[in-house]
């Protein structure tokens, strides 16, 4: 017999695993249809980083806000973004969550507190600071989560944001998905600082976790958010992870060694979670069933997006400003 605690933990793990499966399935599907030319523009996939998205968002509550990045599919899906609206957006359809005007890098849904993915590296961080300021002044008890990659550490707004958040003691969690890459370059060649030292310089708490272990991420995020909700001021959560794909789809990645890619695959967050599930005595048929269910969900969303009308120009051109009530 499993103890209550073990049961609760395996339930939590199942939920997190399902979220990661959804992200993985979506990203693999996008990789395929992108290669087939079905997705306009360019996309940045988060395969290998699913545990950060699933773990961090699992600790968020209604009313909290989330600012994300160009590699943000996982974050918004984990936060519960409508799958149909997601596929339609990425494929530029009228029914897209942003009516086909934003695309992969600009997905947002205010109803879920998703205040935007961002095409500008680091730009979501100060926006998130402002969101946290609003929460503090409005006394909503909510918190803001700013996701960013290690490449954004070199952006000035990140430094400014740490300062402002610390000065005003804002309820914001800075989550760094540290995959070691700043686009096409190793971050250690681009940035001479260390995140823990930066946080320390501003008097902000910093915690580093294995970003491929979804339970570690979830627990660390949950602890950090509890402190934020108690008014203890901002904190930094650094999740060490691995970018399995290129900077964008179609990136030949000539700057990377095979060994480095392989090492990452060996620590795949979904594989690690599946092993943990087996150790928690979750039957493998159940895991297979979850996989099949999610595959079906994603396929349906893709089919729906394919059938949706293209985005409407007249609607878009007349919606640059908020309509003024006559």
């Amino acid at each position: 017999m499993k103890s209550q605690k073990a049961l609760a933990q395996s339930d939590q793990l199942i939920t997190l695993y399902k979220t990661m499966l959804l992200i993985r399935q979506v990203e693999l599907t996008l990789a395929r249809i992108f290669a087939d030319g079905e997705v306009p523009g360019f996309i940045h996939l988060c395969i290998g980083q699913e545990a950060v998205a699933a773990g961090v968002t699992s600790a968020m509550q209604q009313g909290d806000t989330l600012a994300t990045t160009h590699r943000g599919h996982g974050h918004v899906l984990a936060r519960g973004l409508d799958l149909d609206g997601f596929f339609k957006e990425i494929m530029g359809r009228a029914g897209g969550i942003c009516q086909g005007r934003g695309g992969s890098m600009h997905i947002a849904d205010m109803r879920l507190g998703i205040i935007g993915a961002n095409g500008i590296v680091g730009a979501g961080i100060p926006i998130s600071v402002g969101s946290a300021l609003a929460m503090k002044l409005r006394k909503t008890g909510s918190i803001a989560v700013a996701m960013f990659g290690d490449g954004a550490m070199a952006e000035g707004v990140f430094h400014e944001s740490l300062n402002l958040a610390a000065l005003l003691k804002l309820p914001i969690l800075f989550v760094c998905e540290n995959n070691g890459w700043s686009e096409f370059s190793r971050t250690e060649k681009q940035f001479s600082g260390k995140l823990n030292k930066m946080a320390e310089a501003f008097g902000i708490g910093h915690r580093m976790v294995d970003g491929n272990n979804v339970l570690s991420v979830a627990n660390a995020a949950s602890n950090a958010m509890e402190r934020l909700r108690n008014g203890e001021g901002p904190s930094v959560l650094e999740c060490l992870t691995h970018r399995t794909r290129g900077h964008f789809e179609g990136d030949a990645q000539k700057y990377r060694t095979e060994t480095e890619v392989k090492e990452g695959l060996e620590r795949d967050p979904l594989t690690l979670a599946a092993v943990a599930l087996q150790q928690a005595l979750v039957p493998s048929e159940e895991i297979l069933k979850m996989q099949a269910q999610i595959e079906a969900l994603v396929n349906t969303a893709l089919m729906n997006a394919r059938q949706d009308a293209p985005a409407d120009f007249e609607v878009a051109v007349n919606d640059v400003y908020t309509p003024v009530e006559a």
Partner: protein, 323 residues
Amino acid sequence: MALIRYAHAINQALSDAMSADETVIVLGEDVAQAGGSFKVTRGLVEIFGVNRVIDTPISESTIVSASVGAAMSGLRPVVEIMFMDFMTLAMDAVVNQAAKARFMFGGRTSVPMVVRTPHGGGLSAGPQHSQCLEAWFAHVPGLKVVCPSSPQDAYSLLRSSIEDSDPVIFIEHKGLYANRGEVDTALKVPIGIAKVLREGRDVTVVTYGATVAVCLAAAEKLSRDGVEVEVIDLRSLQPWDERTVFQSIAKTHRVVVVHEAVQAFGIGAEIAARIGEDAFDELDAPVIRVGAPFMPVPFSSELEKRYAVNAESVIRGLRKVLA
């Protein structure tokens, strides 16, 4: 009605807006304890407290971006950028974030924020504290741009800007802060409506900001020679009031567009082009622009005097279009 200074009218608008709506906050460098570089926000922190009147670090980029985030999370921030020249540091926040959020997020959010910033020279403030960069912002879809010339318009347009659901760049003028005028706090001035300040049948002058007074002085001088100049204060640059301008052209058939900003690629270029496209048949002469030469704003008084648009350069423009 009380005669109050332009700077005080802005202060009054902030105070009245904050009293009327508790989601309105003021933030910026030295806006609270110091009352702002030009004392525009003086006294607000004593009334509304440090939570709503926030002294920020010298981080233009982040304070404007934070205003975007705050606006998307239920506040109506009014952020002060000490000199318009410093807007360069906040361009991502304004251009890529504030201006685009509503559109790119499918019309499901709005960004009700105001960036207050003073432009303009005349104070020997030099090349990095004197520029008029309004054309940059008027060029970006999603932004509104206003530039009041009188205490009344400063008051009423700031109230309208704070109530607006979209981001507004509210441009003040350092040289106007001390000017006095009557202010009726009940008077509404919607964004996008110009004002005919002087009626005339012979030629139209379209202008805004500090050159409004310059153009009125030029009109007064020409009036002595029997030339009647119609002076239009645009007040809003994006959107601008095409209707009022075109109505005036239909009467005078001659136009001069005047601004303090560099003439090339400026607001005047856009207005002249629009008139050429849509009111060509009304014109008896080509549209003339009067603006600053294509050079940085110089420091020394002698140089700056030569640089600045004045009544004489406006009159030269008027004579040219009347010839």
